[in-house]
């Protein structure tokens, strides 16, 4: 399959010598979340992940759980978030991250088409492993939505290379055995996984989960093409930093990556 727009964009930036940065923002968290997405894009993100909150987020730690609950309590729905996304004005790709029941409930084709129609280029479903990908994977391919697959530190070599060849957009390496959340140091599993993935694929390799500071981002990109930063940003949003504070934090991450 030929690379889609996300993979094209990320490859071009990587080839230009840039380390890649993808911040995560919970959709529907605070009234200004659309402006947060625009602000982090302008501050140096290469793509932005938008979370569609789910009632039972098993891959998420306390910070993103709290953000999800607040967004749901404020009335966010998949439909309202995608309607807001259509208003977002950025020149980097947008990707949604949600859980499979949201997709299953809407119907594979309907969900894939609504992503494409609202200008979303990719999707990440952390509870849909390779062995269950079929139905959604086909519908997403047909709609031109790139499904980014995750690889864990304990994923066996055979599965790892299958995931690398089936993943679109980029390959998401889960840097630590655990759920989303900040860690004081970058897990030792990050470097090992980064090297395994880089040896297996030419697609962009990004590490996420437990990457939350400019120093950790720089360290992670010794062995990978880029990082995904979620809880560290969402915690600041829960503390009320707003679009400007989010932009400052993403700019600091960008600077950390550019120094390497």
């Amino acid at each position: 399959m030929t690379p889609g727009p996300i993979e094209e964009a990320l490859r071009a930036r990587r080839e230009a010598g840039r380390k890649l940065l993808v911040p995560y923002v919970t959709g529907g968290l605070n009234d200004d979340w659309v402006r947060v997405v625009e602000a982090v894009a302008a501050a140096g993100a290469d793509a932005v992940e938008i979370g569609i909150p789910f009632s039972d987020p098993v891959m998420d730690g306390p910070v993103i759980q709290e953000a999800s609950q607040q967004a749901l309590a404020a009335g966010a729905t998949p439909g309202s978030i995608l309607a807001d996304v259509a208003r977002i004005d950025v020149d980097v790709p947008l990707v949604v991250m949600t859980y499979y029941n949201i997709v299953f409930r809407a119907g594979h084709r309907r969900f894939a088409q609504s992503l494409a129609e609202q200008g979303v280029s990719g999707a990440i479903l952390p509870d849909l492993p390779l062995i269950e990908l079929d139905g959604w994977g086909r519908a997403a391919d047909e709609a031109g939505v790139e499904t980014i697959l995750l690889v864990a530190p304990n994923t066996p070599d055979g599965t790892l290379s299958e995931i690398c060849s089936r993943s679109r957009g980029w390959v998401y390496g889960v840097a630590v055995m655990g759920v989303t959340g900040e860690r004081t140091t970058l897990a030792s599993t990050a470097a090992v996984l980064g090297r395994r993935l880089k040896a297996a694929t030419d697609k962009p390799v990004l590490l996420g989960v437990g990457v939350g500071t400019p120093e950790q981002a720089a360290e992670a990109t010794v062995d990978a093409d880029g990082v995904i930063v979620g809880s560290a940003l969402v915690r600041r949003l829960l503390e009320g930093v707003g679009p400007d504070g989010a932009a400052d934090f993403v700019a600091a991450l960008r600077a950390g990556l550019d120094r390497t």
Binding site: F54, V58, I102, R105, D127, L128, L150, M177
Partner: protein, 399 residues
């Protein structure tokens, strides 16, 4: 095509239900567990050990009791499969002994589990004490209050009990939190899941570990009924493990099979297909796919989903599912105590409530024989029920 209550397909499906919808980090553990269980279950030595622990330690076989007074009152013949008499007071011990022996065989050193009513947590803590595992139990903060006695029992048995304050703070959230921990500790830790739900191989494996209920009951009924089977076999359904174990013993007979869900958590009765906690099944959810909270006075049934094999059994028509409401459940709880001298847990009181309601109707015609699995004893529930009787003028212990 799999036969009813046989092995699921290689991708863990019962019909269209089941599967393995989990983060990639847990997929190797599920595959390892599937291999280990498949090998152990084909190994006579493993069966011997499992059965001897359940016999010498667990108190099996549990009897089938004929309820003469209740039968006279209802005009039908009522038999109870007495899981309340198993060690720790419910059927949960059957599954837990199986999984703990398997975990030991796999070289695991630690057990983690979710619990609702606390019965599965107590059973897991018991097996951990017996077989020398470290043990941590996740329990919704609401249930920690409702089932305070069971929290103390678990701690007495050496387990650490962690209250879960996210979401609805009940069983569903305890499962989320156990899964989150398992993602981080999967190497040395076995997740001892308490019912026929979750990712493949759990629904199949837990049903096999509970099959002993149905196998025993089938033979005991034949003895009591001069070689005949009961007309109807009834069990309550939370995740569905006591029901699955019971039905497995009768699925190849002519007995009608009935599962009883709580009215406030009737995943089969009111849910639609969805995916949560690792498998596809019926699920209470809103139009957007957000999981709804169940509402039942019984902590052990307070769950918005149901095991995938039950979804398949319902779709196939082999099992019929009904719902029982809180008030009739309390009446059934009291009635069994007064007529038979048996205080049931609130969970199987749902099965009894349906039997009482259906007695003499087309569902349970006068003179028919019904076997009910009494999945646990009511000691854990008496404080809660006493408080409810006191609060409500409508409900009194005299019915």
């Amino acid at each position: 095509m799999t036969s009813l209550m046989g092995q699921p397909t290689s991708d863990g499906r019962f019909g269209e239900f089941g599967g393995r919808f989990l983060p990639e980090s847990l997929i190797p553990a599920c595959a390892e567990l599937e291999t280990a269980f498949t090998e152990a279950w084909a190994d006579a030595a493993f069966h011997d050990e499992y059965e001897s622990v359940l016999r010498d330690y667990g108190g099996r076989p549990t009897p089938v009791t004929e309820c003469r007074n209740l039968s006279a009152q209802l005009g039908i013949r009522v038999l109870l499969k007495r899981e309340d008499l198993a060690h720790t007071g419910s059927h949960k011990i059957n599954n837990v002994i199986g999984q703990a022996l398997l975990a030991r065989r796999m070289g695991k050193t630690r057990l983690i589990a979710e619990t609702g009513a606390g019965q599965h947590g107590v059973a897991t803590a018991t097996a951990a004490a017996l077989l020398g595992f470290e043990c941590r139990i996740y329990m919704g903060a609401v249930d920690v209050v409702r089932q305070a006695l069971n929290v103390f029992r678990m701690e007495l048995l050496g387990a650490e009990v962690v209250p879960v304050s996210s979401g609805s703070r009940t069983l569903k959230d305890a499962i989320n939190e156990t899964l989150r921990e398992w993602v981080a500790t999967v190497g040395a830790t076995h997740y001892c899941l308490g019912s026929v739900m979750g990712p493949h191989p759990y629904p199949w494996m837990v049903r096999e570990f509970q099959r002993i209920v149905g196998t025993e009951a089938h033979g005991q009924c034949r003895e009591l009924l001069d070689g005949a089977d009961p007309d109807v076999v009834v069990a309550c359904v939370g995740g569905g493990s006591n029901a699955a174990g019971t039905f497995a013993g009768f699925v190849d007979t002519d007995a009608r099979l009935v599962g009883v869900e709580p009215a406030g958590g009737a995943a089969i009765g009111r849910g639609i297909p969805g995916v949560v906690h690792g498998s596809k099944s019926y699920l209470l959810q809103d139009e957007h796919g957000q999981v709804l909270e169940a509402h039942s006075l019984s902590a052990g049934l307070d769950y918005p989903g149901v095991g995938p094999e039950h979804a398949h059994l319902a779709a196939s028509g082999r099992v019929t599912y009904h719902a029982a409401g809180d008030a009739e459940v309390l009446d059934a709880f009291s009635l069994l105590a007064r007529t038979e001298g048996i205080i049931p847990a609130l969970e199987p009181a749902h099965a009894l409530a349906w039997v009482i309601r259906a007695a003499g109707t087309d569902d349970l015609p006068a003179g028919c024989t019904v076997m009910v699995t009494l999945s646990g004893r009511g000691d854990k529930d008496v404080a809660q029920v006493a408080a409810m009787f006191e609060q409500s003028g409508l409900l009194s212990p005299r019915g």
